[in-house]
């Protein structure tokens, strides 16, 4: 019991960070599946969602500002796609990627300009942010809620993709972009829907993340964004269940490493894990084996 009790904080932290990474990773993997584009700005959209909650919470009650911020984040995702990625759909892939990096810079610098660089504190969401005791270990309620919320959202998303029209359209577009267009699928709506869904999930992820770790700085989205992307690649890019499982594995392993005392390498370890997996499974855990047509 003592062993369990002293290691429980690591496990809980691991599960909750894994869930948060999962919500961000889905956005990456969906966009990549359709556009073959790494959306570097996604981590910063996550950060913007948090900033919007912080600024709106000083004017209106939380139960209004939270949903409002989630919707606004969806709008931001839509806007980013229209402004930065749509014009570059026919350009070489590197240009689109640079546009993503440029967008990420822009969001970070705007946040820096508006907040003045000082850390802003996320308002305390009642019920979620309360401290509770689990088997003798103290933590916040949100660490326990996160995996459940994540799983519910994933199930909802997978059902949307499997059973609705827009879901089928998304699958078609990620399989073969041009043929889907020829078949009459409205590409713009599909792509916009992808970005909006990804951003909404990131917004919910940000509510959970920042209720746990309340400091918001302009660059706070960088590391979680990168780790979520690694999780998406780890699980096989383009595969949603893969991204989720990858995220949980990375979140838990990261905290176990910290618990073992190798704190210096907790970040580096994530990449070591990735490289080892890629060496044996070049397209990730659940990736599709792509055949090269000559």
């Amino acid at each position: 019991m003592g062993f369990f009790q002293s290691n429980l904080p690591y496990l809980l932290a691991g599960i909750s960070t894994g869930g948060q990474y999962a919500l961000i990773a889905i956005g990456y993997t969906m966009v990549y599946g359709i556009l073959r584009l790494i959306n570097f700005a996604h981590g910063d959209v996550f950060m913007c969602a948090a900033l919007m909650v912080i600024y709106s919470a000083s004017y209106m009650p939380l139960y209004v500002s939270l949903p409002l911020a989630v919707i606004a984040t969806g709008v931001i995702g839509f806007a980013i796609e229209r402004v930065a990625y749509k014009p570059l759909r026919t350009a070489p892939r590197m240009s689109a990627m640079i546009s993503a990096i440029g967008m990420s810079y822009l969001l970070q610098n705007l946040a820096l300009y508006v907040t003045g660089g000082l850390t802003k504190y996320y308002p305390s969401v009642p019920f979620i942010a309360d401290s509770i005791e689990i088997f003798g270990a103290m933590t916040k309620r949100v660490t326990v809620i996160t995996p459940f919320v994540t799983i519910i959202l994933i199930v909802a998303l997978v059902s949307i993709i499997k059973y609705t029209k827009i879901g089928i359209a998304m699958r078609a577009v990620s399989r073969d972009f041009e043929t889907a267009q020829l078949m009459g699928v409205r590409i713009n709506s599909v792509i916009s829907a992808t970005f909006v869904i990804g951003s909404l999930l990131a917004a919910i992820g940000s509510i959970l993340f920042f209720s746990n770790y309340t400091g918001v700085t302009p660059t706070v989205g960088g590391m979680p964004g990168l780790k979520a992307f690694v999780a998406a690649v780890f699980g096989g890019i383009g595969s949603i269940p893969g991204a989720v499982i990858g995220a949980f594995i990375i979140g838990i392993c990261e905290n176990i490493i910290k618990g073992l005392g190798w704190t210096t390498f907790s970040d580096a370890f994530t990449f070591v894990l990735l490289i080892i997996v890629l060496m044996f499974m070049p397209t990730g855990l659940f990736g599709e084996k792509a055949t090269d047509k000559v």
Partner: protein
């Protein structure tokens, strides 16, 4: 070589010599503290690393995000090996003077910087170069982060000084030094591109399967491109160390790689002159020309300009970058190079238009 080609080559040499001459003259007439020199020095260093990244991404089609890691290796190798022995105790103050107690001359230091970076590139390339483009990107990014974590590890502090910075190694004063070194290295890369190896790289970029079918050994050539590109990234890391007079692992983050990637794409993937030009423009814009936007007390004839605060400069700079990327989708130079022949053709086109009007 036929006559026009030889004449073009001579004209190119003369032009490059002129650039050097102009820089030397500027050094004499402008005060030595002018910002122009800072921009020239940093620009030439970034030009070298941008060209090395272009060699990898633009000419061979290998999407790698590990440049910052190789620059880190180069910078540290140079710094660690060239700190004069009498200063070592002061620099390695937490590690009792460090374990290396000799110093090598500057030229050897720079060369070794490139060699060490190339060596690590070779090792890293073995497991990852066969991955598909985006997986390769994230794997190389991962390696850069791992290298950074290792260099910050305090158990290795006797060698690397852990999280503390390295200083007191030999530096340069004149802008001609980085110009000369970068120019020489870029010249080597140009020669490489125009050789059979260069053609093999371009073939790999255009279609890997076809290249292999034509008999090009994919693994060997990819490893070659990766190693050579990292060699020059290592040298530019050493130059950067000399420019900054201090070296610390924490500044070689992935953000530095993104900056270099921005420079390469804005200049045009596959264009060496594009990388050089855009590197100078990028550095000038981000560090020099727009600094006045940070000054909150700017007045234009008594009118206090609103919105100007520290941080505004970076917002404007990001907007400028986005605008350039969206408007010049293939980069400023596309994949063309600056050549005398190109200028002559352009001039004759203009002359012909004039004659048609007359």
């Amino acid at each position: 070589m036929d006559k026009t080609k030889r004449r073009d080559l001579i004209i190119s040499f003369v032009l490059i010599a002129c650039i050097f001459l102009i820089v030397a003259v500027l050094e004499q007439i402008l005060p030595k503290t002018s910002m122009l020199f800072t921009v020239l020095k940093k620009g030439s260093i970034y030009a070298l690393v941008a060209v090395s990244m272009n060699l990898l991404n633009g000419f061979t089609g290998l999407f790698s995000l590990g440049q910052a890691g190789f620059m880190l290796l180069g910078a540290y190798t140079y710094a660690v090996l060239t700190i004069p022995v009498k200063s070592r105790a002061a620099v390695y103050q937490y590690y009792d003077g460090g374990i290396i107690q000799f110093a090598v001359p500057v030229a050897v230091g720079i060369l070794l910087a490139g060699v060490v970076a190339a060596f690590f590139a070779y090792l890293i390339g073995l497991p990852v170069l066969h991955l598909k483009s985006d997986y390769l990107a994230i794997a190389t990014l991962g390696f850069a982060e791992i290298i950074r974590a290792i260099f910050q590890w305090d158990k290795l502090g006797g060698l690397t000084n852990g999280s503390n910075l390295l200083r007191r190694f030999p530096i340069f004063r004149s802008a001609l030094f980085p110009f000369a070194v970068s120019g020489f290295c870029i010249a080597i890369i140009v020669l490489l591109i125009n050789s059979t190896y260069g053609r093999a790289f371009k073939a790999i970029r255009d279609d890997e399967v076809a290249a292999e079918a034509m008999g090009i050994n994919l693994a060997h050539h990819k490893r070659l491109a990766f190693t050579i590109s990292s060699f020059f990234a290592g040298i530019s890391g050493a130059l950067l160390a000399m420019f900054q007079t201090t070296v610390q692992a924490s500044q070689f983050k992935s953000a530095m790689t993104y900056e270099i990637l921005l420079i390469v794409v804005i200049g045009g993937i596959g264009s060496i002159t594009g990388s050089c030009i855009s590197s100078f423009l990028f550095i000038a814009c981000s560090e020099w020309w727009l600094r006045f936007l940070d000054n909150a007390d700017t007045y234009i004839g008594g009118f206090h300009v609103p919105l100007l605060r520290p941080g505004f400069r970076k917002v404007v700079f990001s907007i400028v970058i986005m605008a350039i990327v969206l408007l010049y989708q293939r980069g400023i130079m596309g994949d063309k190079e600056f050549s005398i022949e190109g200028i002559r053709k352009w001039l004759s086109k203009k002359l012909r238009k004039k004659e048609a009007h007359a």
